[in-house]
C-alpha cells in the first residue's frame, strides 16, 4: 500500500485531510473489486472517527477486522466511498475488569477474548462461543464490535451476550447511550445504530456465585462454518432453584433471539426433567427459523428443542 492523496481531493475540500492519514488500495481498485472506494481512512483516535462520521457518515462505512465488510464490498452489497478503519483505536482494544462488570472494547479481536484470564472465570460462555467462531486465523482479525455491528442472525457472540445480560455502549460526537444486547438488533443487517454512531464497548455485569451455563453451536462441519443454529443458556441458581435464567439463540429468527417465554417456564422453579423438556418445547414455539441451504425449518425447530434441553442443564442434573 502506498500513501495516496490524489483521489482524496474532495476530502481535503471538506477539511478532513488534517486529521487523517489517507491510504489507497490502488491495486485493488485497478483490479476492479472495489468500485466506488475513494479512500481508506485510518484514524488514531476515537474523536477523529466520530468527527469524520459526523460529517461524512452517509457515504462512509466503519471497518474493524473487515471479515464481514470486505465480502459485502466485493459482492457489491455495500459500496462505501470512504472506509473508516477502527484498527488504529488502541482505546477500544482493551478488556477491563471493573467493580461489578467487565468492559470489552469493540475493536477487541476474538483471540483476545479467548485468551483473557478475566473472561475465563466471569464469562466463559462467551469464550466458548468465540472458540467456535470460524477458524483460528479469523480469531486474530474478527472483532466483537464487528460481529454485533454486522447484525447477522447467526452472530455467534450474540447468544452468549444475551445470556450474560450484556449491554452495548454506543457513541457518537453527541454522546453515548447504552442498549441491552437483545434490543440492539432490528433485523438482518439492521441495528439501532445511527449513521454517526459506532459501538464503543460491550459491558457485561459479573454473574453471581451460582451461575452456570453453556453454548452449543450446530454446523455441518467443525470449523469455518456458519451456525445452522446456536443456543446459549445461563442460569443463576439459588438453593437449587432457578433464580434467573436467560436463553439466547442464533439463526432461529431474523435477529439473535432471547426466548422469554421459555425462560419463564423455569424461572423460580426447580429444574425437573419434565420442566426442562417443557422449556425446550416453548423455546421452539418462540422461534421462526427459515429453510435455507444449511437446513430446513423443521430440522432447526427440532434442534432448538434438542439443544435447549442438552445445554448445561445437564451438568446441574448430574450434580444432583
Amino acid at each position: 500500500m502506498s500513501l495516496f492523496f490524489q483521489k482524496s481531493e474532495s476530502l481535503k475540500e471538506q477539511g478532513f485531510i488534517d486529521f487523517f492519514i489517507i491510504l489507497s488500495i490502488s491495486e485493488v481498485i485497478d483490479q476492479g473489486s472495489v468500485l466506488d472506494l475513494q479512500a481508506f481512512i485510518h484514524p488514531f483516535s476515537l474523536d477523529d472517527v466520530l468527527e469524520f462520521l459526523e460529517r461524512g457518515a452517509s457515504i462512509s462505512n466503519v471497518m474493524a477486522g473487515g471479515t464481514d465488510l470486505f465480502l459485502q464490498v466485493k459482492q457489491g452489497l455495500v459500496k462505501p466511498k470512504y472506509l473508516v478503519s477502527l484498527a488504529g483505536l488502541k482505546e477500544l482494544k482493551k478488556i477491563d475488569l471493573e467493580v461489578g462488570f467487565i468492559k470489552i472494547g469493540s475493536v477487541v479481536a476474538f483471540q483476545e477474548i479467548i485468551d483473557s484470564e478475566d473472561l475465563k472465570y466471569k464469562a466463559y460462555i462467551l469464550q466458548g462461543a468465540s472458540r467456535k467462531m470460524g477458524f483460528p486465523q479469523l480469531h486474530h482479525v474478527a472483532t466483537i464490535g464487528g460481529n454485533l455491528g454486522n447484525a447477522s442472525p447467526a452472530a455467534d457472540s450474540a447468544p452468549p451476550l444475551i445470556v450474560l445480560r450484556a449491554k452495548i455502549r454506543v457513541v457518537s460526537k453527541n454522546g453515548e447511550r447504552v442498549i441491552p444486547v437483545e434490543s440492539f438488533f432490528l433485523g438482518i443487517k439492521k441495528t439501532v445504530l445511527k449513521a454517526n454512531e459506532i459501538i464503543k464497548e460491550v459491558v457485561i455485569p459479573l454473574p453471581g456465585e451460582n451461575f452456570t451455563g453453556g453454548f452449543v453451536k450446530l454446523g455441518k462441519r467443525n470449523a469455518h462454518v456458519l451456525s445452522t443454529i446456536s443456543v446459549a443458556v445461563g442460569i443463576q441458581f439459588s438453593d437449587g432453584i432457578v433464580k434467573d435464567i436467560r436463553i439466547g439463540m442464533g439463526f432461529v429468527a431474523p435477529i439473535p433471539l432471547r426466548t422469554l417465554k421459555a425462560e419463564n417456564v423455569l424461572r423460580g422453579k426447580k429444574p425437573a426433567e419434565g420442566l426442562v423438556i417443557k422449556c425446550a418445547k416453548v423455546a421452539a414455539s418462540e422461534t421462526a427459523p427459515i429453510s435455507d441451504q444449511r437446513a430446513s425449518t423443521g430440522y432447526r425447530w427440532e434442534m432448538v428443542f434438542v439443544l435447549t434441553r442438552m445445554n448445561d442443564f445437564k451438568d446441574h442434573f448430574q450434580g444432583g
Binding site: I29, D30, Q31, G32, S33, L35, F135, L218, K220, R221, N222, A223, H224, V225, L226, T228, Q293, R294, A295, S296, Y299, E302, M303, V306, L307, M310
Partner: protein, 771 residues
C-alpha cells in the same frame, strides 16, 4: 506373491524413498508463479457473459453499448469465432459460444476483452441478451419420460452401456438371499485451490502461446487450434504451476483457453482470463449425480450368485466426458468381487444443467457407495462379518472380473482387507461399538475397491507417453514429459524414476513442466496414469542414454558394460566397488567423443479390449486395489458425525515415493469425507443455490480424522519399478466406508449422499429408534 530377489538392478537408491517434493519450497514461500501471477506487456483482461436461463432461445445479443465503453477492446459473439464454434472433446456437441439456444445456467454467450478487469466486468453488464425462455429439463428421470422435451438427440440419452455375464435370472434363482435397494448420490465440486485461468499470447507468424492452469496440455492445444483455426504446429501450450485439478482441469481448460485464445486472436494482444470462484462453481464440470438400482443375490454362505445394476448419471447439457465416465463406472459397477452372473445397464442422461465431467474416481465412487452398502446389507442379512464376506468374494490372481478378464498378476486386494482389519482392530471395535448406549454412538465400517489404471480400452488411442531426457556435460539431467504436476507430486516421482534409471543423484535431475512444443502428445494427466505411463517413457529414454554412456565407461574402466553399476552419481565395476568414477566424468568423456547425450523415450499401454455388445473383455491392463476402514461417532440427537479414524491400505504396486503416495491417500480421504458427509451442491430448476464456499462446505483440518496409511506393494511387471497408480483409488472407498460406519453406529442406513446431519437426524427419527 512374487519373491523379492535383490539383483543388481533391483537395489534401489531413490525409488521407494520419501523424497521431498521438488516444488515444495517455492510453493511454501510463495515464489511459485501461478497463471494469475503472470503479466505480459499490453495484456488485456477477459470476461465471459453467461446465460441466466437453464434453457432459452437467444433472440438477439446486443453488444453495442458494451463496445462503446471506454477501455473495452473487443466484445465477441459466436459469429466472431475465427475457427469452428465447437469445443472438441469426445463428441462434438458443445459450441464454444451459444448461438441460437442456451442449455444451462452459466453457458457462455459472449466474450469481452478490456484494459482492466473492472472495465471488463462493467462491459458484461452492458451486453443485452434477449431470451425466449423454454421449459427446462432438470432431472434425468424426467428427461427419460416420453413427454419430456427433447434437449439432446432423440431421447435425451447421451450414451448407454451394457455388461452381460452368465445369466442373472438363474443366478438369482440360486440365491438364498436377495438384497435390492436404490441409491442416490449428489454433485461434487472440485474446489481446487486455484480457479480456472488462462493467458493467451499471440506471437509472430500467426502463432499463439497458451499459459494455463491445466491437466491436459494436448487437449488444450487441439481446442485452441480448433476455435482459432491456427495450425496445431503454431499453438504452444505451456502448463504453469497449477493449484489442483482433481479432474476439474481435464476438459474445462479446453474451453477456458478457447475463449481466451479467440479474444487474443481478435485483439492481437495477450489476454488473461481468470474465473471467479462463483463463476467457476456455476459453470465448470462436477462429479455426476447418480441414481443406482442395485440387486444382489448370494448364498447363505456368502458367495455372490448374481448382481444386477441399473446406473443412471445426470450428464448435464453436453456430453463432455460423460462417455468415458459412464464406461468406467459400468466396468467397475460390481466391485472387486467374483460373481458368475452379471447384468449392468447404464445411461448418461442429458439435463439443462452444467455439464458434469471428470472427478477423481471418474464414475466409480457412486457405484462403490452402492455395492459396498449392498455388501454390508448382505452381511447383516446372512449374519456374517462384513470383512469375512468381502474376503470370501474378493478377487485373487487367476480370478475373473465382471468383464471376464483373468487377473494374471499384481492382485494385492485380499492383503489390503486383512491388513486394514488388523491395523484398525476391526473385530474388537465392531463388537465393542455395537454395545454403546447414549447420545454418542460409535461405528466402524469397511469399503473395498479395485481401479483399472490408465485410460483402458475406451481411451486406447490416447494411451501412450513420451519423454525427452538430456544429460549435460556437468552431469546434470533435464527431463521433459507431457503429464502435469497439479499438486500430486508428479514431477518429484518422475525425478526419482529418472534418477534411479540413470544412477544419478536425485538433486541432479530437473523435471520441466509440460510444454506441447517439446514432447509428443502423451495423453491426459488423468486416470491415475501420471506415474506409470510417463515413468515408463522416462525409463526408456534413460536406458538409451545409459547404454551409450556404458560403452564409454566400460572402456574407461577396462571392463564390459554388463559389469557396470550406475548408482548415486557414480559408475563402477560391480566387482571392484569403490574404484569407480563420477557419473559426470563419464559424461564429460562421452561428450568429447561426440556421443549423443539426449534421447527420446516412448511407451505404449499394454493390451486392452472391450466388446460393446456384452461388455466383456480386458478393459484395463492392470488394477490397483484399496480398502478403507472408517470409525465414526454419531450424535444421535443432532445427526452430526465425527470421523475419528480412517485406516487405508492400498495396493498400488511399488510405491515410488511413500511420502507423496501417503499425501495422495490423505487428501483422497478428506475429499471422500466431504463427499460422504457435507459436500452438497444444491440445485433447483437448474439454478445452483450455493455457488460459494460459505455454503458449499468441504472438510477443514478440524474435520480431519486420524489417518493410518499402509501399502501392499504387489508389483506390476510392466510398470516403472513395479508401480501402478494411486491418485484416484485414494478417494474411492472412503465415502462408502464412512456410511457403513454410520449405519453400524446408529443401526439404520442412509441411502443417499451426502449424509448431512439433517438427513441422518430424520433417518434416525423415521426409524423410531432412540425415542
Amino acid at each position: 506373491m512374487e519373491k523379492e530377489i535383490v539383483t543388481l538392478k533391483e537395489k534401489l537408491n531413490v525409488v521407494g524413498k520419501p523424497k521431498r517434493r521438488v516444488d515444495a519450497k517455492e510453493k511454501v514461500i510463495g515464489k511459485a508463479l501461478y497463471v494469475d501471477d503472470l503479466r505480459f506487456p499490453g495484456m488485456l483482461y477477459g470476461k465471459v457473459k453467461r446465460s441466466i436461463y437453464p434453457r432459452a432461445r437467444i433472440r438477439v445479443i446486443d453488444t453495442s453499448k458494451a463496445k462503446a465503453l471506454k477501455g473495452v477492446v473487443a466484445v465477441l459473439t459466436a459469429k466472431d469465432i475465427p475457427g469452428k464454434n465447437m469445443v472438441p472433446i469426445i463428441v462434438e456437441d458443445m459450441p464454444l459460444l451459444a448461438e441460437r439456444e442456451v442449455r444451462y445456467i452459466g453457458e457462455a454467450l459472449a466474450l469481452v476483452a478490456a484494459s482492466s478487469k473492472r472495465t471488463a466486468e462493467e462491459a458484461l453488464k452492458l451486453i443485452k441478451v434477449d431470451y425466449e425462455p423454454l421449459t427446462p429439463v432438470t432431472s434425468p428421470i424426467d428427461a427419460l419420460k416420453n413427454t419430456s422435451p427433447k434437449i439432446y438427440g432423440e431421447n435425451n440419452i447421451v450414451i448407454s452401456y451394457k455388461l452381460r455375464k452368465g445369466d442373472v435370472e438363474s443366478g438369482f434363482r440360486e440365491a438364498d438371499v436377495i438384497i435390492e435397494r436404490e441409491y442416490r448420490t449428489g454433485y461434487q465440486e472440485h474446489v481446487y485451490l486455484e480457479p480456472q485461468g488462462i493467458i493467451a499470447v499471440p506471437g509472430p507468424n500467426g502463432s499463439m502461446v497458451i499459459y494455463g492452469s491445466l491437466q491436459c496440455p494436448h487437449y488444450v492445444q487441439k481446442a485452441v487450434s480448433y476455435v482459432t483455426g491456427i495450425g496445431m504446429n503454431k499453438v504452444r501450450v505451456v502448463q504453469v504451476e497449477t493449484g489442483g485439478g482433481f479432474g476439474g482441469k481435464e476438459d474445462v481448460p479446453s474451453w477456458v483457453a478457447g475463449y481466451t485464445a479467440v479474444l487474443a486472436y481478435r485483439t492481437n494482444k495477450p489476454v488473461k482470463l481468470i474465473y471467479d470462484r462463483e463463476e467457476d462453481i456455476l459453470s465448470t464440470s462436477k462429479r455426476h449425480p447418480a441414481i443406482i438400482k442395485y440387486r444382489t443375490g448370494a448364498k447363505k454362505t456368502g458367495e455372490l450368485t448374481a448382481v444386477e445394476v441399473k446406473y443412471i448419471l445426470d450428464a448435464g447439457a453436453y456430453a463432455t466426458l460423460s462417455i468415458p465416465v459412464l464406461w468406467r463406472g459400468t466396468v467397475h459397477a460390481v466391485g472387486p468381487y467374483k460373481c458368475p452372473n452379471i447384468k449392468v445397464d447404464s445411461l448418461a442422461v442429458a439435463t439443462n444443467k452444467v455439464p458434469c465431467g471428470a472427478f477423481r474416481g471418474f464414475g466409480t465412487p457412486q457405484v462403490i457407495f452402492a455395492h459396498e452398502s449392498q455388501m454390508d446389507l448382505l452381511a447383516e442379512e446372512i449374519g456374517m462379518d462384513p470383512i469375512d464376506l468381502r474376503l470370501k468374494n474378493a478377487l485373487e490372481e487367476g480370478d475373473q472380473t465382471a468383464t471376464g478378464q483373468v487377473l494374471r498378476e499384481s492382485v494385492g486386494l485380499k492383503e489390503t482387507i486383512r491388513r486394514a482389519a488388523e491395523l484398525s482392530n476391526w473385530h474388537r471395535k465392531r463388537r465393542e461399538y455395537s454395545l454403546l448406549k447414549g447420545v454418542k454412538r460409535r461405528g466402524i465400517g469397511i469399503s473395498t475397491v479395485f481401479y483399472g489404471v490408465s485410460l483402458g480400452a475406451a481411451g486406447k488411442h490416447l494411451d501412450k507417453a513420451a519423454s525427452l531426457v538430456h544429460v549435460f556435460p556437468d552431469g546434470s539431467v533435464v527431463v521433459f514429459q507431457s503429464l502435469t504436476e497439479i499438486g500430486q507430486g508428479q514431477r518429484t516421482v518422475i525425478a526419482q524414476i529418472a534418477s534411479e534409471s540413470l544412477g544419478v543423484k536425485f538433486e541432479d535431475v530437473y523435471v520441466q513442466q509440460a510444454d506441447t512444443s517439446i514432447v509428443p502428445d502423451s495423453g491426459p494427466t488423468v486416470a491415475s496414469r501420471g506415474t506409470l505411463m510417463p515413468g515408463m517413457a522416462v525409463i526408456d529414454a534413460c536406458k538409451r542414454i545409459k547404454k551409450r554412456l556404458a560403452a564409454v565407461a566400460a572402456e574407461m574402466l577396462n571392463t564390459t558394460p554388463e559389469n557396470l553399476v550406475f548408482e548415486n552419481g557414480e559408475v563402477y565395476n560391480v566387482y571392484k566397488p569403490g574404484k569407480g568414477m563420477l557419473f559426470k566424468e563419464v559424461v564429460k568423456e562421452a561428450y568429447n567423443r561426440r556421443v549423443n547425450l539426449g534421447a527420446e523415450g516412448w511407451f505404449e499401454a499394454p493390451f486392452t479390449s472391450f466388446n460393446p455388445e456384452t461388455g466383456q473383455g480386458e478393459p484395463y491392463f492392470v488394477y490397483s486395489y484399496a480398502t478403507h476402514i472408517a470409525e465414526v461417532e454419531v450424535d444421535v440427537e443432532t445427526g452430526k458425525v465425527d470421523v475419528l479414524k480412517v485406516t487405508a491400505v492400498h495396493d498400488s504396486g511399488k510405491i515410488i515415493n511413500p511420502a507423496t503416495a501417503s499425501g495422495q491417500v490423505e487428501g483422497g480421504i478428506l475429499q471422500g469425507l466431504g463427499y460422504a458427509l457435507m459436500e452438497e451442491l444444491q440445485e433447483k430448476d437448474g439454478y445452483i443455490l450455493n455457488p460459494n464456499l460459505t455454503d458449499y462446505l468441504i472438510p477443514t483440518s478440524m474435520d480431519a480424522p486420524e489417518i493410518e496409511v499402509s501399502f501392499v506393494e504387489a508389483r506390476y511387471s510392466k510398470g516403472p519399478f513395479g508401480a501402478k497408480g494411486i491418485g484416484e483409488p485414494s478417494i474411492m472407498p472412503t465415502a462408502a466406508a464412512i456410511l457403513n460406519a454410520v449405519s453400524h453406529a446408529i443401526g439404520v442406513r442412509v441411502f443417499s449422499l451426502p449424509a448431512t446431519p439433517e438427513k441422518i437426524y430424520w433417518t434416525i427419527k423415521g426409524s423410531g429408534r432412540y425415542t
